[in-house]
Amino acid sequence: MAKIRNDYEHSWWPRLLQWLEDGSTRLDDELTAEMDESREGHLLPTHEDVAAHEAKLEERRNQKLADELAMYAHAHEWTRTKGAKLANWAYRIMSVVICVSIIWVLLQTAAYLPPFGSPDNPVNNEVSQRYIEKGMEETGAVNIVAGMILDYRAFDTLGESNVLFIAACSVLILLRVSSDKHDPTSVHQLEVEADDRMYEPKNDIILQHTVAFLVPVILLFGVYGVMNGHISPGGGFSGGAIMGAALILYLNAFGFKRTERFFTFKTFKTVSVCALSFYAISKAYSFFTGANHLHSFITPGTPGKLFSAGLIPYLNIAVGAVVCCTMYAFYTHFRKGDM
């Protein structure tokens, strides 16, 4: 109660009332005190006063500094001895607790999974039945997975290719160093990147001979994987990754000068954009005709032939090109900052 009354008396309304009634006593008091001081000649402090004041301040500052230093020393000592021990214990306990809780969660999840191979499992629904029974007939792809990802769910695969492309764009934004010879910052950055690669073994004759034998084989295998994606295991993503790996191997053996002859930033741009636009446009045509029951010139063809399964081989080539270029671009940008 007393506090509330105090608060009330100190708020502006009662003070205003008091001032209206008999003037502000406090203001008057302060004014008179100041007048007294000035009357006694204390308005300008003397030399000794200033010195004493400074000394006092200095002493106080030193005291504070010493206190602070002692506190720091204590904290330092504590972290080295007791704190380290405590942190060690906490770390061990927390690691065990986190491990056990993750194990518990995973085991609980596993306990709720349906039994393996049971016909009543939720995966055995009409969707997968349709894919397995009519996939080859409708898409023309012997490899059911290729028929699924590039025909039934082609829109989803376009999204995946775009994700790769966007990731490559982000890497470009973050890591690309402009190869402008007149800009001092970019020249400096290029020098730093080159310094990073100084200790890498260059022009290794053993590696070069091995690579000259291996890279054509690997590239051929990648192309085989892409082209036969609708007939045998493989497809755009895996074949493209193999081709990108072959390019990276070639780059490691022979250096940037040799690869720049056939793969520059311009090539990357052209190939990626062309492949993605071809994918989008051809699939748009296929969706449009399919949804409106129009006649489409894309036919499944004879399953098992190389040029069959409608759009699937061409879409595989597009996806493979995007994946290959993206992998190579990642590698070059993380290593050199440019292509």
């Binding site: 100084m198 200790y199 073994p201 260059k202 022009n203 053993i206 590696l207 034998f213 291996l214």
Partner: protein
């Protein structure tokens, strides 16, 4: 009878491969310096892989798949020693205290590596 003999040969080959791989792993963890470790790692790869794959080929019988496995042996024989060689070169290039860790036989070669091509 023939099947039993084949199984035994395949088992022996696989076990020999396992022994080689195991000794290589022990070597990798036992040696102290990276070059000695590369020595262990690059050697056990070649012998262990060929023994294991030969064991599989013998156990399965010779057909087209075995030919593919032979190609796998060829690829691994090509790549594994080359990667070991490259890691060794990198180690020589960047380790400034090579003499402390081991006896350097060819000073000139090491200097040439360090100065770069």
């Amino acid at each position: 009878m023939l099947d039993t003999i084949r199984f035994i040969i395949s088992l022996l080959l696989t076990l020999a491969g396992l022994f080689v791989l195991l000794s290589g792993v022990v070597g990798i963890f036992k040696f102290k310096y990276s070059l000695s470790r590369i020595h262990a790692g690059a050697l056990f790869d070649t012998a262990g892989i060929v023994l294991m794959v030969l064991g599989v080929i013998v156990g399965q019988g010779f057909d087209l798949t075995s030919l593919k496995m032979l190609i796998i042996i060829g690829i691994l024989w090509l790549t594994s020693p080359v990667s070991g060689h490259l890691i060794g070169r990198l180690e020589i290039t960047i380790n400034d205290e090579l003499e402390k860790d081991m006896v350097v036989m060819d000073e000139r070669m090491v200097r040439h590596e360090k100065e770069g091509d």
